[in-house]
Symmetry: C2
Subunit: 321 residues, 2 copies
């Protein structure tokens, strides 16, 4: 029995080209530090702040790269995707910039704030049920009806290459990093960043951090085989997706370890980032700092980057109320 | 009938000297921008971000300056003040740095988060009732008992000079400003910044912004006579104090106008700064942006700095819950 040949993976050159290509369309986000949070963990933390990215999350990068790479005749038919939120908003923004239509299939359980963002950028929202099957079926229907090009939220070379640009910026902004902690859901950010980090700085330890309530990446990485995500149960709504094929291949090649964090730690991390650093971070974006709280041994005495992936949280429904 | 001679006021040289003196002890806070908030008001806004200052507010500046200026024999007896929060924490921090005791008289209605900060920096908290009379009486008692030097939260030349350093940084960071909007409570920040701004860039329009529920500065400025603050009623806990003598004199000399804002606008401003800029801002710190929401004519088509004065808000008691 032989496994099917894997789809082509992005290379470091694709990430470098994406970096040039999307530069005019995205923010070079700052790296923030906090003496208080350093003292609390006994390490030196560098918070790469993608919650300050356009549309409030790193997803702006992958979507910008994918839309920019579309040939003119394909682009004219528009783009479509299914997304619980940030990728949908990012794709809507990129499509609006290029002047083409966007259709976003959104599950009923997507946060209202993310739904509002997609609508604000002028995309058409196509509602569906929350299961992956329902999302994919509805997306097929949209493609049949409109001919729009699918831009998958993470299992897409162009998207992964775009997300990997976070690593290029981080390396240019921060010296002598020893550890980089990155959230993992579908694996676009972790896969792309790990490829770039390990290619350019092989000595850096790359750590994926995942909610224990949606731990398919943790289990798949340990087993060496991609397992499906079954009934994810976490407030980190951006990390409920299952690992993509390309993403898992990159993670197997380039990631050193994956750890999981509890819901309590995710909420505590959100609150600490808000109260100590004055930064509004969504649950998924707080997951790597939750890793600092629950896996301190990775950070004590080290220079570590913590990737805050996004800040689109519904302020009327903060999880501690 | 002749008025009593006013106490000596700080001069621009005092602010410049304070800038040198406190440089090692404070953060040079960033100036943040937002394309979304610019589009919403039709102007160009530059958010001077003192919520990212040490101890979470501009108060770190004045306290650092006052403590640094104490002669050795006075400093040895310690410092004391009454404060609803941010000045207390700032003084506690400055005292801890110099290795001297600090006593902070705090009213019962001070936010828990601010009380915790004062305690965390190692100061002794002396509880009292919420009225100004009770606060002053308790402070007198502390002075009698300990011999500590009083550092008033705002009606103090050294403190005003320290707060004025925000303006020196802002002018170095942002070109061609036409308007600067500054919150006003006791008047330390507004008085100090207005002195610096008008001395160094007379063409800049300096606007004080005050909660309508604590509008003694607005009324005093209009009348040309310092009125007492009577029963302040606002969620902006940092702006409930009445104008100081020195502060009013500086404001009369250097401020162009004072406008008031509603509680609804303060809450809306907090929420917009959190949802759009991902910045955690306390109610007092959101007051100048509330000014943008309710007095748009000052900002439309202009380059305007908005001073976010602090970010110490109790996340368990956000005002929209």
């Amino acid at each position: 029995m032989t496994a099917a040949a894997p789809p082509p993976l992005p290379r470091i050159e694709d990430i470098q080209a994406a970096h040039e290509r999307i530069g005019p369309y995205i923010h070079r986000t700052p790296v923030l530090t906090s003496a208080l949070l350093d003292a609390a963990c006994g390490g030196s933390l560098f918070f790469k702040s993608e919650h300050l990215q356009k549309a409030g999350a790193f997803k702006a990068r992958g979507a910008a790269n994918a839309v920019a790479l579309l040939p003119e005749q394909d682009a004219a038919r528009g783009v479509c995707t299914h997304s619980s939120g940030n990728h949908g908003a990012a794709l809507a923004l990129a499509a609006a910039r290029r002047g083409i239509p966007a259709h976003v299939v959104m599950p009923d359980n997507a946060p209202a704030v993310k739904r509002a963002a997609v609508a604000a950028y002028g995309a058409t929202i196509v509602p569906c049920e929350g299961t992956l099957t329902a999302r994919e079926a509805m997306l097929d229907e949209v493609v049949q009806r409109t001919g729009a090009c699918v831009v998958h939220p993470y299992d897409d070379e162009r998207v992964i290459a775009g997300q990997g640009t976070v690593a290029l910026e981080l390396l240019a902004q921060t010296e002598d990093l020893e550890v980089v902690a990155i959230p993992v859901g579908g694996g676009g950010l972790l896969g792309g960043m790990a490829l770039a980090l390990k290619t350019l700085r092989p000595g850096i330890r790359v750590l994926g951090v995942e909610p224990a309530g949606a731990d398919d990446a943790f289990r798949s990485f340990g087993l060496g085989e991609r397992l499906p995500q079954t009934s994810p149960d976490t407030i980190a709504d951006g990390l409920r997706a299952g690992l993509g094929v390309r993403n898992f291949a990159l993670i197997q090649q380039h990631v050193d370890a994956i750890v999981t964090v509890s819901e309590e730690a995710i909420i505590a991390a959100m609150k600490l980032l808000m109260s100590r650093m004055k930064q509004v971070v969504e649950p998924s974006g707080a997951v790597p700092y939750a890793g600092v709280l629950e896996h301190g041994e990775w950070f004590r005495g080290r220079r570590a980057a913590i990737v805050i992936s996004g800040g689109n949280v519904d302020l009327d429904r903060l999880p501690w109320y």
